[in-house]
Structure formats: structure tokens, C-alpha cells
């Protein structure tokens, strides 16, 4: 590799930041208007009363909690995958890590909004936080919702740090190549980066610490989200396997989200030279493995319930297996197992298109999975007299749609202001020079290059 290729990397990856076409503005306006409509809908729901939703007695949690779990699940793509790939020092990780970590940060922000949207009195959400109150009241630390607050805020802080650290050298690069206000903004973001050996060493150490620390945090976050359900004595919720089941499902849907995001970036930002089919194949294999793991968990859960033959659980079991929720259930099985398995297990079909199709299936299937965990159990609790049903109302559908638009909008804006592929890491991979990677020492295995 020559200086030529290093310059090409910089040019290619900074191009989206320097050149803006009308398509960008149209896209931002389109997505922004959907997000604005979502915010307006939320305001309308607060003004008119929570009854505008389809929530009822006994289905007190439905669409919003489904979306909460779904988005927190999507957030597991990024940081977790990136941290694992960094720790095992997979050479192909370099173009993938940043676009994965961004998903985490944004999906968490969106996911964390849902518990607030779903509150009866959302303006009092800060009562979930332990703040010094004049009334000397603390939140109830026994409540899984309070654990949620701590888990999500820890994960958000950690993953934003994890995202930000490797961006510092790239911010410095942009700073050095720009003038005026741009230079000042990126200069501030670069935190005085000069690229000295000492700074590289510190960056590497910090990234390694974060990569190790973020993995248990990520696992704990979705375990705690699952505790929201498994701590309540509700049929089919009260299960010991919910923790690992949710974590596996989260990583599963997260990889699918990452594949879709990468395919979109590749197409629209013309990153064909950086995101190769091999990246999709590798992630596709990971998706295949998670699909099998997911199927194993569902099989274990269903079989245990069926053999247990506990009447309240069997009511929920049958209503999903062959009752009113059966169409959704079997769509879920198709989208989460049949479709990705048959595409990804065959090497010929494991192309970029194949991986994207499988990923769309998984995203839909995992959303349905969360819905089928939340709603059928609540609508079929212990006393048959109080069984109920649920149908989403326009308010809920609009707010849900707007969060998908919000995810796209944030991603589009991010890739406009920050190089979506880490320039220095890519260079370090393709162009192992001591100036760029002085940290390839034994104590800094992350800096090693795999040519």
C-alpha cells in the first residue's frame, strides 16, 4: 500500500462531508417531517389523554413497550459486536465498527424514549431518577423499571464514549483540512489531538478498557429489560430463561439492523471499495448463528411450557400457537428462522442482497417476537373473566413510524458530519506504518494489524 491509497481513503471517506447534493436535503426534509409528525402525535396524545392509544384493561403494555424492547435490542448491534470484533482483533472489523457503534447510540436514545412516551404522566418521568428531592423520596430500588433507568443510562454513556474515542483522530483530520467555523467545531471535538505517540497509546488503552467494560454492560442491559417481564407473575413472562433469551434476540436483531444500515451506506455513499461482500458474508454467518440460537431458545421455552402444562401458561401458549395470535406467531417463525436460515445457510445465496433480505425478515420477525411476548400474556392472565384483546390505534402506529424515521434521520445526519468509516483505523489496517500505528506492541494488541 502506498501514500496514494491512504490519500484515496481520506478523500473517499470525507467526500460525504464536503459535498452535499439536493438529494440530501430532500431526504432530511422528508424524514424530518415524519419525525415532526411523531412528536406532534405525542403532544396530541398527552393533550387528549392516554386513552387515544389502544391500551386497555388488561393489556396495559403494548405497542410502546414492544418498540422499547425492539429498539433496545437493535442497539445491541453496535457496541457489542464492535467490542467483540475489536477484542478478538478481527481484521475485517475496521470498516464496520463505527457504523455499528452509531446504531447503538441512536437506537438507545430512541428506545429510551418509549418508557417515557408510555407513561400516563410523562412530565413526571424524572421521578424514576434518584435525585435530591425536598420530600426526601427516592425511587423504589426494588422495581425493575428503576433498574432499567440505571442500565440504559450506563449503557448509553458507555456506548457514546466508545463511539467517541475512535472518532477523535478523525475529527483532528477534518480539523486540519478545514477552515473557519468548521475548523473551530471539529477542533473542539478533536480535544486537542496532535497525534503524538503518547496520545495514540492513551487512545488505545482507553479503547481497550471500554471494549472490555462495555460487553458486560450490554449483556446486563437486555437482561434487565427482560426482567421487566420475568419479575412479574404473569403467565409466560415469569421465566428464568428470559435474560439470555432477550440478549440473544437483541444481538440477533442488532446484526440484522447493522447489515441493513451497511448496505444502505454502501449504496448511497458509494462505499463499495470499503464495504466488501466479505463483510456481509461474515455478518451473515453471525446472523445465521444467532438465528439458530434464537430458534433454540424459542423451542426450549415452548417445549418447557407445554410439558409443564400449567393452565394459565397453556392459555397463553395456545392463543399464540393456534389462537388469535397464531398468524403473527408463524410469521415470526418464518421471518426469524425459516427465511434467514434458508438464505444464509446456502453459500450461493449469502450475497449482499441475500443478507439484506434475511435482515429485513429478522427485523420484522424480532419486532413481532417482542409484541408476542408483551400482548398475549397480558390479554390472557389468570382470571378468564378479565381476558381482553388489543388493537393498536393510529396514535401508536404514527409514533412507531416516526421512530423509524428518526433512526434514519439521525443516521443520515451523522454520516453527513462524521466519516461513517473510521479513516485512521482503515489506514492502520491497509497501511501499517509506525507513524499511523505505533501501538502495535504486545501490550496493545488492538493496534496490531492483520494484513
Amino acid at each position: 500500500m502506498s501514500d496514494e491509497s491512504a490519500r484515496n481513503i481520506t478523500e473517499d471517506l470525507l467526500r460525504p462531508l464536503q459535498r452535499t447534493t439536493w438529494r440530501f436535503y430532500v431526504l432530511v426534509a422528508f424524514l424530518g417531517s415524519i419525525v415532526a409528525m411523531g412528536l406532534g402525535t405525542w403532544a396530541y396524545q398527552m393533550y387528549m389523554g392516554f386513552g387515544m392509544t389502544g391500551i386497555n384493561n388488561p393489556v396495559y403494555w403494548a405497542f410502546y413497550i414492544t418498540n422499547f424492547v425492539f429498539w433496545i435490542g437493535i442497539s445491541h448491534a453496535g457496541t457489542l459486536i464492535s467490542a467483540i470484533l475489536r477484542l478478538v482483533n478481527a481484521g475485517w472489523r475496521r470498516p464496520v465498527t463505527r457504523c455499528a457503534e452509531v446504531i447503538t447510540a441512536f437506537a438507545l436514545m430512541i428506545g429510551a424514549l418509549f418508557p417515557i412516551i408510555h407513561l400516563g404522566r410523562p412530565w413526571l418521568f424524572f421521578w424514576l431518577m434518584p435525585y435530591p428531592s425536598s420530600r426526601l423520596i427516592w425511587p423504589n430500588f426494588r422495581s425493575p423499571l428503576v433498574w432499567d433507568f440505571f442500565a440504559i443510562s450506563t449503557y448509553l454513556t458507555g456506548s457514546v464514549l466508545f463511539l467517541f474515542l475512535p472518532m477523535i483522530p478523525d475529527f483532528a483530520l477534518i480539523r486540519d483540512r478545514s477552515t473557519g467555523l468548521r475548523r473551530r467545531i471539529y477542533g473542539a471535538l478533536a480535544l486537542g489531538w496532535r497525534g503524538t505517540t503518547k496520545q495514540w497509546h492513551r487512545l488505545e488503552s482507553a479503547m481497550q478498557i471500554m471494549a472490555v467494560a462495555i460487553i458486560p454492560v450490554a449483556v446486563s442491559v437486555h437482561t434487565i429489560v427482560s426482567f421487566d417481564f420475568s419479575m412479574a407473575p404473569v403467565p409466560m413472562w415469569h421465566s428464568t430463561m428470559f435474560g439470555p433469551y432477550f440478549v440473544a434476540g437483541a444481538i440477533f436483531s442488532g446484526i440484522a439492523g447493522l447489515i441493513i444500515a451497511m448496505a444502505a451506506l454502501r449504496k448511497f455513499l458509494h462505499l463499495e471499495e470499503y464495504l466488501h461482500p466479505v463483510h456481509f458474508q461474515n455478518l451473515g454467518k453471525l446472523l445465521l448463528m444467532m438465528s439458530l440460537l434464537w430458534a433454540y431458545f424459542v423451542f426450549a421455552e415452548r417445549l418447557t411450557v407445554w410439558y409443564g402444562n400449567d393452565t394459565p401458561e397453556m392459555n397463553v401458549f395456545y392463543v399464540t400457537q393456534r389462537g388469535s395470535f397464531a398468524p403473527l406467531y408463524w410469521t415470526m417463525v418464518f421471518c426469524n428462522f425459516v427465511l434467514p436460515f434458508s438464505i444464509l445457510a446456502i453459500r450461493k445465496l449469502r450475497t449482499i442482497t441475500g443478507c439484506v433480505i434475511a435482515s429485513f425478515g429478522v427485523v420484522v420477525g424480532m419486532w413481532l417476537e417482542r409484541f408476542l411476548i408483551v400482548v398475549p400474556s397480558l390479554s390472557h392472565k389468570f382470571l378468564p373473566y378479565s381476558w381482553g384483546h388489543y388493537q393498536p390505534r393510529p396514535v401508536e402506529i404514527m409514533i412507531m413510524t416516526s421512530t423509524f424515521a428518526a433512526m434514519c434521520l439521525l443516521y443520515v445526519l451523522f454520516s453527513k458530519f462524521v466519516p461513517i468509516i473510521s479513516i485512521w483505523e482503515l489506514k492502520a489496517g491497509e497501511h501499517p506504518s509506525p507513524a499511523l500505528s505505533p501501538m502495535a506492541a504486545h501490550e496493545h494488541p488492538l493496534g496490531e494489524t492483520h494484513a
Binding site: F50, Y60, P139, A232, F382, Y385
Partner: protein, 230 residues
């Protein structure tokens, strides 16, 4: 000794007339939501009369079961509330602090009896029903959970009255609205810590059982029913 309020429901006496439901609405300022909202599952009855049909036509038996908050000793609704809005009082009641409730509705999900209700809208009373609002009970605003309190306002009033007159609270001094209105005397309320009280006597009855007892919620409501040998 502290009180431990409890209730006994004699299913062999209950006629399913629904007077308890009406009395509860009147006493506790529970709004009526109208047919459209009720059809959507937003009806609020702190006490409801469940109807179950047993057997096949024509040999059908109709059974009524009034279900209100069971005021569990190990209440699943309490630990899950993030703000302590749902908490246990010294008298063994599951209290709900409306002002502290932010409406996560987690308590209602955790409750196996489905006796916790959410205010989907601000309450409204068609005129002239607003004139019969009970001044002793607060009106709940949109977005909070509410539930049967065992008519805690009547318990407090009786305790204050007893203290003012330097008397002991006697069995039968406190009667929640449902108990007061039950013409079949199917509902009995009292202090379970007083072994001589009628409710304590009925709670010991061999006819007695607890609703969903095997969940381990330790309810303070006993259901009395003729036991048949199978």
C-alpha cells in the same frame, strides 16, 4: 396491636345483584366511562361481579364472584412500582398514592386479579352526577392508577371518631360501601387481628379459600363456598 383489615365474601349468599358495584362507584368517585370506552376495555369497577357458567345446557349453574383488590400481604403490585405509589400500609392495606403515580401501569400487569384501573382520560360526570361526588375521596386525574382501598376514608373516619370519643374501635364500626350495600350480607369486613371479629371467624371457616391462592400473594379476602367432594 395494629389492625389487619380483611374481608370475607360468601359466594353462597351472593345474588350477583351488583349493588356493591354501584355503591363503590358512588362512594369512591369512580367515573363511568360510557359504552364506547367500556367496549374498549376501559370500564372502571373497583369491585366487579364475575359471572361464570358451569355445566352444559340445560344443566347450567351460574356462579357469581365479586372481585375487588385482595389487599395481598405479599402483593405483586408493590415491588414493581418505581415510585412507591403502590405501597403497603401498617394496617396491611395496599395503598395507592395517586399524586405519586406516574402511570407506568406495571402494577396492573403484575396484579394477577386485574383489579387495578388506569385513568385513560380526565374523569367526567354527566350532570347532575357531579353533585353526588364524595368530598372525602380525591378525584383522580388522567394517567394514574387507581384501585379498591377498602374504603380507607371510612376506616380513617371511624378511627378518628373512636379516638375523639376515647373508645376502642368495635367490630362492625367500619363498613366499606360494598359491605354496607350488600342486601344478601355476602360481604363481611373487619379486623383479622381480632380473633373474635366476624370476618376472622369466617376466614377460619372450612368453606373458605383464597383467590389464586397458589400464587403465594397471601390475599386478605376470603371466599366462602360450599365445598363439594369430587
Amino acid at each position: 396491636m395494629a389492625h389487619k383489615w380483611g374481608m370475607a365474601v360468601d359466594l353462597d349468599r351472593c345474588t350477583g345483584c351488583g349493588a356493591c358495584v354501584t355503591a363503590c362507584h358512588a362512594e369512591n368517585n369512580i367515573p363511568t366511562v360510557g359504552p364506547e370506552q367500556a367496549a374498549r376495555g376501559r370500564a372502571m369497577h373497583w369491585i366487579r361481579v364475575e359471572r361464570y357458567w358451569e355445566g352444559d345446557f340445560p344443566d347450567v349453574r351460574l356462579k357469581f364472584r365479586p372481585v375487588m383488590c385482595q389487599q395481598c400481604d405479599a402483593a405483586p403490585c408493590e415491588p414493581v412500582c418505581p415510585t412507591y405509589a403502590s405501597h403497603h400500609t401498617e394496617d396491611g392495606l395496599n395503598a395507592q398514592v395517586y399524586n405519586r403515580c406516574i402511570g407506568t401501569r406495571y402494577c396492573a400487569n403484575a396484579c394477577p386479579y386485574n383489579v387495578r384501573f388506569f385513568d385513560f382520560f380526565n374523569p367526567q360526570w354527566p350532570k347532575p352526577l357531579q353533585l353526588q361526588l364524595n368530598p372525602d375521596v380525591s378525584v383522580r386525574e388522567v394517567g394514574v392508577m387507581e384501585k379498591c382501598t377498602f374504603c380507607v376514608q371510612r376506616i380513617s373516619a371511624a378511627q378518628i371518631d373512636a379516638k375523639a370519643n376515647k373508645k376502642e374501635l368495635k367490630d362492625g364500626d367500619v363498613k366499606p360501601a360494598c359491605v354496607q350495600s350488600c342486601s344478601a350480607k355476602a360481604l363481611v369486613f373487619g379486623d383479622l387481628n381480632d380473633p373474635e371479629s366476624e370476618v376472622a371467624r369466617l376466614a377460619r371457616s372450612p368453606r373458605g379459600s383464597k383467590l389464586l391462592e397458589d400464587l403465594g400473594t397471601l390475599p386478605n379476602v376470603t371466599y366462602l363456598e360450599r365445598q363439594t367432594q369430587v
